[in-house]
C-alpha cells in the first residue's frame, strides 16, 4: 500500500484521492474528487457532532483519520473506479482513432496494403489470394471508411463502439489475413493458429474493457476529448 508523505489529514484526503483516481481521465477524476471531497467534509462534520468533547485540532484530526479509514483502501476503490470510468490511456486511444483513423491517407493505405499483399500472394501462389484480398479491402478500407463517416462528433457511445469495431477489424485484417495471403494456411496451420492467438491476446483482450465501458457510457461529453463519459 502506498504510504502518505506526512500525516496531515488534509493531505491524507488528497493522497487517498490521488491513489484512488490515479490514471483516470480528467472528467471522471474531477467528478469523483468533487463528490468524495464533499462526502468527506460531511462525514468529518458528523463525527465531530457525535463527539461531545470540545472541538480541538486533535479531535478534528482524529475525526478526519476515522473518515479516511471509513473510505476504505484507495487501491480497492481505484479498481472499482477503473471499471466504470475512462482512464487517460483509453480516452487517448479513442481520441487517436478519430484523429488518425479517419484521415483519407490512412483509408487509402487500407487499399494499398491489400494490393501489395495480393501481389506477393499471387507471386507465391496460394489459391485463396484473390478471395482474401477482397476480405482485406473490406476490413481495411471499406468498413473503416463507412464507420468514420457514420461516427458522430462528439462521440456518442454508439459512435465510439463503431470506431472500436473498425479498429479491431483493421488489426485483425492486418495481423491475421496478411500472413495468410503470403503463407498458405494448409501448409503452415500452426503458424496461422499462433498468429490468431497472439492477436487475440495482445490486441483484442486489452480492448474488451474499452468496448465494455463504451457500452455503459452516458451521453455526456468530456469537454477536453469530446468523448461521452
Amino acid at each position: 500500500m502506498n504510504q502518505p508523505n506526512n500525516n496531515k489529514p488534509e493531505t491524507l484526503l488528497h493522497w487517498w484521492l490521488a491513489v484512488a483516481t490515479n490514471g483516470l481521465a480528467p472528467a471522471g477524476k474531477e467528478r469523483l474528487t468533487r463528490e468524495i471531497s464533499l462526502h468527506y467534509a460531511e462525514a468529518v462534520e458528523a463525527h465531530l457532532a457525535q463527539d461531545e468533547s470540545e472541538r480541538t485540532p486533535e479531535t478534528k484530526a482524529i475525526a478526519e483519520c476515522t473518515v479516511i479509514k471509513e473510505l476504505g483502501e484507495p487501491e480497492v476503490a481505484a479498481r472499482h473506479f477503473r471499471k466504470i470510468y475512462w482512464t487517460g490511456k483509453e480516452t487517448e486511444h479513442v481520441a487517436n482513432l478519430v484523429k488518425v483513423g479517419g484521415k483519407t491517407p490512412i483509408l487509402l493505405l487500407g487499399l494499398l496494403i491489400p494490393a501489395i499483399l495480393l501481389g506477393i500472394g499471387l507471386f507465391l501462389g496460394p489459391l485463396a489470394a484473390p478471395l482474401i484480398f477482397g476480405g482485406l479491402v473490406l476490413m481495411l478500407a471499406v468498413c473503416p471508411a463507412f464507420t468514420f463517416m457514420l461516427a458522430k462528433r462528439p462521440l456518442t457511445k454508439a459512435s465510439t463502439s463503431l470506431l472500436l469495431l473498425a479498429d479491431w477489424t483493421r488489426d485483425i485484417a492486418l495481423a491475421v489475413a496478411a500472413p495468410i495471403m503470403v503463407v498458405s494456411p494448409f501448409r503452415n496451420p500452426g503458424l496461422i493458429v499462433g498468429i490468431v492467438v497472439l492477436v487475440v491476446l495482445v490486441k483484442i483482450i486489452p480492448r474488451i474493457r474499452i468496448w465494455n465501458k463504451a457500452r455503459k457510457m452516458s451521453d455526456e461529453f468530456d469537454e477536453t476529448t469530446g468523448i461521452a463519459t
Binding site: A20, R31, L32, R34, E35, I36, L38, H39, A41, E42, A43, A46, E70, L71, G72, E73, P74, V76, A77, A78, H80, F81, K83, I84, Y85, K216, M217, S218
Partner: protein, 111 residues
Amino acid sequence: MYPRYKPVMNFKGSLTTLILQNLKEGPNHGYRIAQEIKQKSKGVLDYKEGTLYPALHGLENKGLIESYTQEENGRTRCYYRLTKKGRGTLAEQKQEWARFSEAISLVLQET
C-alpha cells in the same frame, strides 16, 4: 420438474437495488444514501465510497437515476433522483430479490 431459473440477483449486486430503493423516497446525495442504508440495516450494510460512487454513476449511465447539482450552505452538491426507467427496474429487482431470498431460505431451512 421446476421451470429453469437463471438467477440475476446475488448479495454482491444488491447495492444497486438498495440505492434505487433509497431514491424512491426522494432525491438524495451520496453521503446521505450511504448513511441511510447503514442506519436502516442497523450497521450491517456499510458500503465504502469506492463501491458507492461507481454504483451511483453506473446507474446514471444506464438511465436509472439522474443527477443534478444544487447549492447548499455554500457548497455545490450533487443530488440523485430516480427516473421512470429506474422505478420499473426497482420493481423488477425487488421481485427478483424476494424470489432469490426465498430460495436461499428454503435451502437453509432445517428439516
